[in-house]
Point group: C2
Chain length 116, copies 2
Amino acid sequence: MTIEKRLLTGSTTMLVLKLLADKDMYGYQMIEELSKRSDDTFNLKAGTLYPLLHNLEQKGMVSSYNDNADSARVRKYYSITKKGKALLAEKRTEWKIYSSAVNKVLKGGATLAETC
Amino acid sequence: MTIEKRLLTGSTTMLVLKLLADKDMYGYQMIEELSKRSDDTFNLKAGTLYPLLHNLEQKGMVSSYNDNADSARVRKYYSITKKGKALLAEKRTEWKIYSSAVNKVLKGGATLAETC
DNA sequence: TTGACATATATAGATTATCTATATATAATT
DNA sequence: AATTATATATAGATAATCTATATATGTCAA
C-alpha cells in the first residue's frame, strides 16, 4: 500500500531534525536512513530535502560542513544546533497532541463497537 | 500550544468521513463536533470543509439532503455512502501505517535513552 | 423592533509543503 | 569506455489548507 503523500506534510522537518539529533548526516544518507527506519514508508525526495535543509540552515536550526573522511568523495554533512534541538522538542510535542487527537476522533462516536 | 496547521494535511478527509460514519451531519455541525472530539485541537475552517464536502459528494463518497426537522432553519445534511465507507477504511489503514512509521523514526537512533 | 451576534453555506484567491523534472558532477562497476 | 549509483541543487507544478469575503437566517437583548 502506498501512503498518500500529503499525509506527510508538516512532519518532514521533525523527522529530519530527529535524524540529525542522533548523528551528523549528509543529505543523501538522510533519505536512505529515513526510508530504512520507517520500513520504506517514507521515501523523501531529494527535491524536498535539499531545499528544506537550506531553509533550516538559514534559520540556524542546523549547520553544515564538508567532509571526506568516510568516503573518497566530499560530502556535505549537517549537524543539529541547540536551536534546532529546541525546535525538535516542540515538534515532538505537536506530533503527540496531533496524533492523539486524530486517534481520539477515530475512536469516538456512536458505533464504537464497529470501529474497534 | 497551537498545532502547526500543515500537520493536518491529508487527514481531514478521513476525519470528516469518520464523523459521517457515526451519523449524518451538516457542515457547521462537523466543524463543532471535530473541535469537541479533539479537545479543541482541530479547528477546521468553513473555507476548507465546504469545498471538501462538495468534492466528496461529486466523487460519490457522500450524499446530501436538506432537512429542517432539528431546527427552524433548513440545513444541508451529509450522509456517507458505501463507497465512502470503503475510502474511510483505506484512510484508516494509511493513517495507522503512517503514524507508526513516524513513531518508529522518533524512537529509533543512537541516543535512545535521551529520547525516551 | 432594531441592532448585534451566532448560525450556516459558499467561493475566490493566497499560501506553502510537497512533488516531478531537470541539471550537474563524481565514484564505482562492468 | 560506458553505465549505474551516489550526491547535491534548483525551477516549476500540484494540491490541501488558509484567509477573506459574501450572503442569508435565526436568536436575543436593548
